[in-house]
Amino acid sequence: MFDIFAVLPWLKSHLLSGLIFFPALGCVAMLCPVFGHCTNPCGRRARRFSFLLSLVPLVIGALLFWQFDPQIGGLQFEERTTWIASFGISYHLGVDGISLFLVLLTAVLIPLVIVNSAAIGASTRGYMACLFFLQMAVFGTLLAQDLLLFYVFWELMLVPLFLMIGLWGGKRRIYATVKFVLYTLAGSLLMQAALFYAVWSYYAQSGEVSFALSDLMHLKLTFREESWLFLAFALAFGIKVPIVPLHTWLPDAHVEAPTGGSVILAGVLLKMGIYGFFRFGFPLFPRAALEYAPYLAALGVVGVVYGALMAWAQTDIKRLVAYSSVSHLGYCVLGLSALSVMAAGGVIFLMVSHGLATGALFLIVGVLYERRHTREISEYGGLAAKMPVFAFCFAVATLASIALPLSSGFIGEFLTLAGSFERFPVLTITALLGVALGAVYMLTLYKRVMFGELDQEKNGKLEDLHLRETAALVPLVVLIFWLGLFPQPLLERTEVSLRQYCSQIMARAAYLSGFRSSGHGEAL
């Protein structure tokens, strides 16, 4: 195979920075007054420019995918520069099998959102700036291997979404933004406190300050300390996921967010919570994580069933899809807690699949909203006859969402549940309730929107998907089928990383338990 890194060796060591740099560049360019004169009122030029620029991360992502070595369990494409030497803070980036596909998902979703954001109109530049900023922050969060760097990017993710919902949102957007930001911030602040406590303990043990994940992984804490720190991290991540009962910000945020915001929120941002558990929560505090995993799993299953029931009770399409996310992320929490390679691989697959399917669903809701300016299910009905292409895309997204085999959702859900079954058989069987309920609420939604007579006069004039909307939905549909039929390219790139991840946590937990029993830990 053609090895591009042989030709351009510096590329390999700066690839990840490119992922952060180009969105940042896009953000700056969009805000730059120099570009002001070349935007026309409907924002088409700004959109075109942004679309082209957003292809750069996609290309980098593709490069990462091809050049990723599935045999290496650790970090690849690492970059490391000292940032604040006196505090042991460094600009350390790396990607492994756990983060690779979330990076790719983000890189895929952003261009599709840009293509499909024609409704924004004159303020397109600001909107695009927010999207780029968000993309940068997400990439940073996924790639950072230094806890402070991670924390900075983690908090930066809030800013653009705050603006997107607050400026381009619906009627109750202020309530939704405030709720969303306060909720998330409350969790993050606790995480920050826990983070500083961990760094301070590390300083007390080793005599040097370091925020590096690889250093802090060797932290020796008493079980009580570990538990408190884990709970603080878990709270921050749990709010982001969101784990029931910390979820009520999500439906409000989704309902008020513009289409693009919803797609990114459901597609990418929620997964940051799960990713946080993978990258930091479990490896940093393995003993506490193992101890509390059953409770976490139970909360996940509660989320699966509760989210499904909530979705069933909704009359607003977007709120329904939002609650379906709560339900699906519940599977992820369950699989995450099982700490087996199969379940963890399933979780990663499920996250990607959920990003594609729910992203598509939110685009679909957006299509309807742009035409009719309502999200009430009862306002629709009988659209299938009017909008056949739309009906097809909606059907595929629905089927992926209820995890029909040969769609991507099935592989993720099956692996997650099959992997979890070994550790939590009863909980997993309970989670199957969500599988049945998923069909209930999604098919009820589909039936009420698409089937029946076309009895509302306003719906008689609805147009089928425009070219732009089709262009945004078709890649998602193709990916849903492609991953459902050929999941192996994804799974084989995650497997070694996950194996290393699981064995590392088990080994560390065992080591720390031995450490405690010998009495040294208590002396700390």
Partner: protein, 623 residues
Amino acid sequence: MRIISTEILIWILLLPLMGALFSYAVGKWRQGLCGWLATGAAAATFGVVVGTVLYLPSGATLEQQLYTWVALDTLSVSFTLRFDRLTAVMALVVSGVGTLIHLYAIGYMAEDPGRPRFFSYFNLFLFSMLLLVLGGNLLVLFAGWEGVGLCSYLLIGFWYDHLPNAAAGRKAFVVNRIGDTGFLAGLFLLLHYFGTLDIALLESVFSGDAGLLNLIAACFFLGATGKSAQIPLFVWLPDAMAGPTPVSALIHAATMVTAGVYLMARLHFVFSAAPALMLLIVIIALVTALIAALIALMQNDIKKVLAYSTISQLGFMFMAAGVGAYGAAIFHLVTHSFFKAGLFLAAGSVIHGTKNEQDMRRLGGLRKYMPWTFAVYLISAVAISGIYPLAGYYSKHAIMEALAHSEQYGVLDLPEIFSTMAAVVACLTAFYITRSLMLTFCGTYRGEGVVHESPLVMLLPIGVLALLAVSGGIWLERVLPLYLGDPWPQPSGPTGEVSFFSALLHSWPGILGMLGGYLCYSWCSGWPAKICCALPPLSRLIEGKFFIDEIYAAVIVRPLEASARALWKFVDRGLIDGSLNGLAWSAGMCGETLRRVHTGKINHYALFIFAAAVLITVFGCGR
């Protein structure tokens, strides 16, 4: 078992899949072509299947490993297709009867503007069903299993502008989904305890303690009850009649609903290892067959009669499988696909000829207008009644024999009870089918408008099916047991050597039922009403279909929906959001209250300072 790898099996799947794509694409361009294209694809599939069957050496299994589908950690699932004799029988039925029904549908759907979609789904169904029977790995089988469920959903709700149709489709999918959770749980158990989902591998390692084996079998049986409409999950099948009649014939009579029986035959080693569950299966199957037959007695919609009849006949197949006579179950599956498809298509011909009239109270006397349809319906009715020498006799008799030779259970004389009940059900079957025959084709026409016989393209397939219903039993009885061979043997019953009269004697339940039905609906037409009046509670119970839908709605669906709404209102909005907003509000109120302290008046501040000084002094000195 010899395994021969081959490249041909993928074509059995690709042909209908390509048919699905092309018939839609071509249909958009030229509507008239799509039906012929889809039928061509089905016929080509049948051709490939026949070729494969002819090539299949005795005692061997053809195998094609396409690629590794899912592999992670200990799990490894390759996309394996296997073709053994059980698959051969199933694939022949699916593609053969499927082709006939495709041909019929060209005539039946001739004026429907949605034809491209219809034939595309129809081909897609063939693909899924063949994937189901070819799957050599349970996960691949499950993909087909869900695929047929999807096609069933799409085709039940084919005329989606009428909301009850869409609701029926959704009901079918959801009820099947409940069964599928059982299937999934079974997969998890197998994976956990045996580490593989490959059927051939599983068969070689399958053993364990009785509780576990019963549990695994129970999980898969739950899946089978969903797909094959047995108690407790049979409620979707009558509603599924909302789909076009060819759909009812192909999916909801001949093929898809028999997937549960196929699953039991395919996983015979799982079920045979769970004797306690097998007893339960026989009982469930008997009760299902009885209840469905009773309900069929009082239905007025000709398709509903046939739907309940299908449930009842599936009960027969499960009885056979439940006593370990998988061969007899498959035998009945095959003959049933002939005569039930014939009945449905004849009913469809009636509906077509009378401009969508399904209510038998407004039919009647059609014998004169539709002689060919009548002939097919009559032949199929005699066949389903199990009267010698038509197909139903042989397969039903095989099941009766299997029941009569089943094992004793304690003091209960189970074989006797089972065969008596089965005979009663067989008698009821003959009665209700004769009733539908009489009401539809005899007497005088009670509807309006002109009735016409269906075109040749519809009569030809049902003619073939009628021929099969007549002759199928005779040759299948000789061929099938030998062909299926070891794992799916047939019980040794009376073979072709039996004399004509003793065979007729053995078909007594059918003859009795048909005679009764004939009498009740010709000479003594007042009797049914009198019987109903004599037994008011029972007749109301039967007329209300045992109120099972209502009970499910009252006990499961509505409480669940109400609790979802209540949770949403009181927990999500009320408790969680309420306490959060309360927290925010109280924080705001604290600020608001404290703000008042900052009045900006110097004398107020002086007062505060003085008060603070006093307090500090008092408490400071008090210590």
